[in-house]
């Protein structure tokens, strides 16, 4: 880790767009001592303004479209969208079911996708590391 750059610390804002909460259970597991993402300098932040990463779950619902777009608009550049779980990535069981969308990550331009229903905490952590690497390249 480069202390000089703080390049790989992440502020994460989580956005739920019609997920079943399974992805959220696994996201929450990241705070368990077995994973403890705070050791990586990562934290779940209280505002999109503080976020380097927006994690998004679910197929997208009509009711969340506006709030999701506003969350993205409020984030300061650079920000990376990470699609967590099969629904957000476009082929979960709820994609295009009823009036659900075809994947919130697709809709919001996710640069990184983490697969699984839900993905394991290890897989989510790998996705977030990939986001940190991507941001390393974008930050000066």
């Amino acid at each position: 880790m480069s202390i000089g750059k703080f390049g790989r610390s992440l502020g994460i804002r989580h956005l739920v767009c019609g997920s079943c909460n399974g992805c959220e259970l696994e996201m929450n597991a990241l705070a368990a001592p077995q994973y403890d993402i705070s050791q990586e300098g990562w934290s779940i932040v209280a505002s999109p303004r503080q976020a380097d990463v927006i994690t998004v779950t679910g197929p997208m619902t009509a009711a969340m479209r506006l709030a999701a777009q506003r969350t993205l608009d409020a984030a300061s550049d650079p920000v990376v969208v990470v699609a967590i779980g099969d629904c957000a990535n476009g082929d979960g069981v709820w994609c295009e079911a009823g009036d659900a969308g075809a994947g919130a990550g697709r809709k919001l331009g996710a640069a990184i996708g983490v697969r699984g229903c839900p993905p394991s905490p290890d897989a989510i952590r790998e996705g977030l590391r990939a986001a940190a690497t991507l941001l390393d390249g974008r930050k000066s």
């Binding site: 739920v16 929450n28 994973y35 009711a63 229903c117």
Partner: protein, 469 residues
């Protein structure tokens, strides 16, 4: 399998009296509509009773909620999804709102009262909901909880689909109550097909359901610690829960046990080595007991929990609350005891209750329920030891109508299923414990201070996905 579902035909004009009568002793499960009928559901020791009332196209429904507020959201849903006009409703706001719209909130008015809006996107890893707090100073006067951000119109989408093809979908209506809901759905299909399961499959189902209860209760206890501002408690609870999730994966191939209960039994290969699960759980049980003792004997934590977010017994009864949230206010409503199913029918299962109705009581009931779950797990795994769990029986869906209810970690989880002769779903209606309990959360906060909202909210820890669908 004992058929625990009955229907009575009740004309619309007689319905209010029959409902008044049943509300005294039975647990209402809600009401739901099909094209021709509305069914009003109750659970009691005799099983599930449906009052079937014919409703002609365009005919109006006289609100039951005008006398029994419990029915308000059920009726709003009938209006939103089936277009049924509801007369004299105490709450006729649309249940769902159009895309791109920002729904109005109800706010209190008066001198010195101000409103604060939070959500639908939150600072934590939680589902979407918008809460509008009307406050006077630090005290909460009123909360408007706007849910339905996760609404996907799933129930109309279920119609016409093959009942067995929907098994993975039912397991994913909500990640918190997946096993319980899969069990209710399997029982509904098996009940219509008059399929009886062998003992080992029934014991395996109980083991899976109790493992779900333990991991959800532990998560809730960790969330309560977070709400109380005690991060060490949250971390420890998450660490213990993670051990169960890893055990779940070893046991079922899935960390949250999704898809482990299927019509006809349990997924092939599940619980292949019950002996090692039993050993792992014994160690975990001791660690969880030590953790709960330490957490709930810490004075600074207790002082936050005691007296916060009180739900009076009368309020819980008025809204027909279920699960730990109702039992913490002294209400007997555990489906495992009230309408026993599977192997619970063999035990004299006594439910855990408390009386104070505050955050501490809701925590205490969970701690004791975890203990009871470990008793059941030990018993179930001993039964399973030294033999194989059978692969699921072949199931052919049979036409009919049924409602089945089971006890999930949050309380009563019901599935109403109407099947056509070709095995297609004509109606699949899901009412979760969280759906029943949401009205308590906002009322429990009245008179409490704003900073206690996370604590009080987390002491219910209700889901959104199964509520909104």
């Amino acid at each position: 399998m004992a058929n625990t579902y009955r229907e009575h035909i009740v004309a619309l004009d007689e319905l209010p009296n029959v409902v008044d009568e049943l509300m005294r002793d039975a647990l209402p499960l809600g009401c739901y509509a099909t094209e021709q009928n509305v069914r009003t559901l109750f659970a009691s020791r005799d099983g599930v009773l449906a009052l079937r009332s014919a409703l002609a196209p365009g005919e109006a429904w006289n609100s039951l909620a005008s006398h029994h507020p419990f029915f308000a959201n059920h009726e709003r849903e009938m209006h939103a999804l089936q277009g049924i006009p509801v007369l004299a409703s105490p709450d006729d706001r649309p249940l769902y709102f159009p895309a791109e719209a920002i729904p109005e909130a109800t706010v209190a008015e008066g001198k010195g009262i101000s409103a604060v809006v939070v959500g639908p996107v939150h600072a934590g890893i939680i589902e979407p909901g918008r809460f509008t707090f009307s406050t006077g100073g630090e005290s909460v006067v009123h909360i408007d909880a706007q849910l339905s951000y996760s609404h996907r119109r799933l129930e109309p989408w279920f119609e016409g689909r093959d009942a067995l093809a929907l098994v993975p979908h039912v397991a994913r209506i909500c990640g918190n109550c997946s096993v319980a809901r899969s069990w209710a759905y399997a029982r509904a299909i098996e009940d219509l097909g008059e399929i009886e399961l062998d003992d080992r499959s029934e014991f395996a189902r109980m083991v899976l359901a109790e493992m779900e209860r333990v991991h959800v209760h532990l998560f809730d206890i960790g969330s309560i610690a977070a709400g109380a501002g005690y991060g060490a408690g949250t971390t420890a609870a998450l660490g213990l829960r993670e051990r169960i999730n890893q055990l779940n994966r070893a046991t079922s191939g899935h960390r949250l046990l999704f898809d482990s209960i299927v019509p006809g039994g349990v997924k092939a290969g599940v619980l292949a080595d019950p002996g090692s699960v039993r050993v792992a759980l014994r160690e975990l049980r001791d660690d969880i007991a030590r953790f709960c003792d330490a957490l709930f004997s810490k004075r600074s934590v207790l002082r936050r929990l005691e007296g916060a977010g009180i739900v009076e017994k009368s309020l819980a009864r008025r809204f027909a609350a279920v699960g730990t949230s109702a039992r913490a206010s002294g209400i007997a409503c555990d489906i495992r005891a009230l309408v026993p199913y599977g192997v619970y029918r063999r035990f004299a299962f006594s439910e855990e209750r408390a009386s104070a109705g505050d955050v501490y009581a809701r925590s205490e009931v969970r701690v004791r329920e975890i203990e009871r779950s470990f008793d059941l797990l030990d018993r179930g795994l001993r039964e399973l030891d030294g033999g194989e769990v059978p692969t699921p029986l072949p199931v052919r869906p049979v036409a009919g109508v049924v409602t089945m209810v089971v006890e999930g970690a949050r309380g009563a989880e019901s599935i109403s299923l109407e099947l056509a002769p070709d095995g297609r779903v004509e109606r699949l209606h899901v009412i979760s414990a969280a759906y029943r309990n949401w009205p308590l959360v906002t009322r429990a906060m009245e008179g409490n201070i704003v900073p206690d909202f996370p604590l009080v909210n987390k002491s219910f820890n209700l889901c959104y996905s199964c509520v909104d669908r």
